[in-house]
């Protein structure tokens, strides 16, 4: 039997398999037009957020320029910045301090999304590990972990955040911690439930029968089968995390002005709702569209990844 270059062959085959799997997934996903648009939207704003500095520099959006306060969207004004006089067009208008709203939105988005991703990643790892242990081992350790989770779940995120911020101060890190902790229980539950479901399947028994260690079983057999619900939950959670960030900042518990963040922008704009509504709408719509996009994308992912749904 012909046995060609081993590693080359394996790599090529693995690549082919992966791309084939992805292609299958894409076919199912792209059928949901709304989800596809949301995905594109999410990717676009992520890119814009990453490359925020190419559009507006951070200093620019945090510097006051009172002469330009409340300029309407599309209007232009003179801005004195870094010893230069610039005739700047305010695409989405200016806020109460004369800062460019669009610029602030872009930079604010950066913060929101960063927290969104990192908080979810953190919650996923910690919650996931705990959930895996609880689900796989069962017994008293399961009870212990689940009761702790229940306790965490019974504390409203707001209160937890207030407590953390009050104790440790307002900062990016503390906001991250607060949101991660309140999100972790969701993952504990999901991972635990998935593991319990799969634990008694025959192929797990078979794995034990051929001598697989517990570690091997959990990582190679179980986790690989529960990625779908976790991915879906994560996209939805990112949306939730962004919303929570905004919420907390709105209340003054997270990112404080002048640092731009959608929530605190909303908060500042409250007073001027009648006078200069554009200061309110811009961040509000930004939050709305972003969270909506993540949710729709998550829905689409779930439909595409669920093997049981009839096509």
């Amino acid at each position: 039997m012909r046995l060609p270059n081993r590693s080359e062959n394996n790599a090529i085959r693995a690549l082919k398999r992966t791309s084939h799997n992805f292609y299958q997934f894409w076919r199912r996903f792209s059928r949901n037009k709304l989800a596809t648009i949301s995905l594109i939207f999410v990717l676009v704003i992520a890119l814009i957020a990453i490359f925020a500095d190419l559009f507006y520099s951070y200093d620019f959006v945090t510097a006051n320029s009172l002469e330009n306060s409340f300029l309407k969207p599309g209007e232009s004004g003179i801005v004195y910045f870094q010893d230069k006089e610039i005739n700047h067009k305010f695409i989405l208008g200016a806020d109460n301090y004369g800062r460019d709203i669009l610029g602030r939105i872009i930079h604010g988005g950066r913060v929101s999304m960063l927290i969104g991703f990192v908080a979810v990643a953190f919650a996923l790892t910690s919650g996931g590990i705990l959930g895996a242990i609880a689900g796989y081992k069962g017994g008293w350790i399961d009870t212990l972990i689940m009761r702790l989770t229940d306790i965490l779940l019974s504390i409203p995120m707001i209160m937890l955040s207030i407590a953390i911020v009050a104790a440790l101060g307002n900062s990016f890190i503390n906001l991250l911690v607060a949101i991660s902790i309140s999100m972790a229980p969701r993952y504990v539950r999901i991972v635990r439930a998935s593991i319990i479901t799969i634990k008694d399947y025959e192929y797990i028994e078979a794995a034990r029968c051929i001598g697989a260690s517990d570690m091997r079983i959990v990582f190679q057999h179980i986790l690989i089968n529960i990625t779908a619900p976790i991915i879906v939950q994560s996209t939805l959670n990112i949306g939730a995390a962004i919303l929570n960030t905004s919420f907390l900042s709105f209340l003054g518990l997270g990112i404080l002005p002048p640092k731009p963040e959608w929530g605190n922008m909303l908060s500042e704009a409250r007073e001027f709702i009648q006078y200069a509504p554009h200061t309110l709408f811009a961040p509000g719509i930004a939050i709305l569209l972003t969270v909506l996009a993540y949710n729709l994308m998550g829905d689409g992912l779930r439909d595409a990844l669920d093997p049981k749904l009839k096509r």
């Binding site: 046995l3 590693s7 025959e202 192929y203 028994e205 034990r208 029968c209 089968n225």
Partner: protein, 315 residues
């Protein structure tokens, strides 16, 4: 080991599960032997404890009490290290080809995993060679190396399970209803395969099934179980010609025969199967037995040897 010593010697094996309703006697004091190179068929209906027994033999369950001696080694008392070594000698083929293989692994991964776990191969070249060999031994087309289970039908999936069980060159295989989930024509293909493999590789089988017609073809001896206990043991030919235990007789007669004008003595069993939880003393089959006598309800019948190799538990 002398030629007459059985490969698998089970004595007074018990497995009780604790439930909120009481103690479930899944396997209640059974004893039997399996000779090397032979097939012992284990027959019974759902809930009789045959699957549990199979799993006890390969240590997927822990026995409540009793002894299982495999080639001189006491399995119930083996430690982790010994068990890992034993795994290379005893394997299991599972019932449901749809849930006994991991849907996210390729055929090659599933079959080759035992090799990786027990470090039986030194490099990926050897690995691939051995996996491909196994595939051809069980009749799986070579092009399926990278296929996923959901692309294949039940028969092929079951072959994957068989290849996986063979990967470590075991001596003893527990076949837990390996053909029950398959269509009749595929059943025949797989049964033939199992019999060929037994001849080629000198395997010893414990063949668990509820289908008496299947077990007749593949077994040398048969054990009939009911409610966790053994009610009859005997060589296949003899047992089929004349089952002694009333349950054995009812079981045999209940099988639909695909022939015309077969006059069958109909034994329709009365009432329902009793519960295996906290069983009362007395023969467990008594409530359904047509030959029931007063003594059947009081004391447990013991397995007596009627003739060499032929045992019955009945008054």
């Amino acid at each position: 080991m002398s030629k007459d010593t059985p490969l698998m010697h089970v004595t007074s094996l018990k497995k009780y599960f604790h439930t909120s309703h009481g103690s479930l006697h899944a396997v209640d004091d059974i004893s039997f032997d399996i000779k090397k190179g032979k097939t012992l068929g284990m027959v019974g209906e759902s809930g009789c404890g045959k699957s549990t027994t199979g799993r006890l033999l390969v240590r997927l369950h822990e026995a409540t009490s009793g002894s299982i001696i495999y080639d001189g080694i006491e399995i119930t008392k083996a430690d982790k290290h010994e068990i890992t070594k034993l795994r290379t000698r005893m394997q299991m083929i599972f019932q449901d080809p749809y849930s006994s293989i991991n849907p996210r692994h390729t055929v090659a991964h599933i079959i080759g995993e035992p090799l990786k776990i027990h470090k039986k191969v030194n490099n990926s070249q050897e690995y691939e060679e051995r996996v491909r060999n196994l595939m051809s031994t069980v009749g799986l087309a070579d092009r399926l190396y990278d296929a996923y289970p959901h692309e294949l039908d039940g028969g092929r999936r079951q072959r994957i399970g068989i290849a996986r069980a063979l990967a470590l060159d075991p001596e003893f295989i527990v076949c837990d209803e390996p053909v029950s989930a398959l269509d009749v024509s595929i059943q025949a293909q797989i049964l033939n395969l199992l019999m060929d493999l037994q001849d080629k590789l000198s395997l010893t089988y414990l063949f668990i099934t509820h289908d008496l017609s299947v077990v007749k073809h593949i077994s040398d001896d048969i054990v009939i179980m009911y409610m966790g206990q053994i009610v009859e043991i005997g060589p296949t030919e003899v047992l089929f010609k004349k089952p002694l235990h009333p349950y054995g007789r009812a079981l045999l007669l209940a099988i639909p025969i695909p022939k015309l004008n077969v006059k069958k003595e109909r034994i329709i069993l009365k009432s329902e199967v009793t519960s295996p939880i906290n069983p009362k003393p007395g023969c467990r089959f008594a409530p359904r037995c047509q030959y029931v006598k007063p003594e059947c309800l009081i004391s447990d019948p013991i397995l007596r040897e009627m003739s060499p190799g032929r045992f019955v538990a009945c008054f």
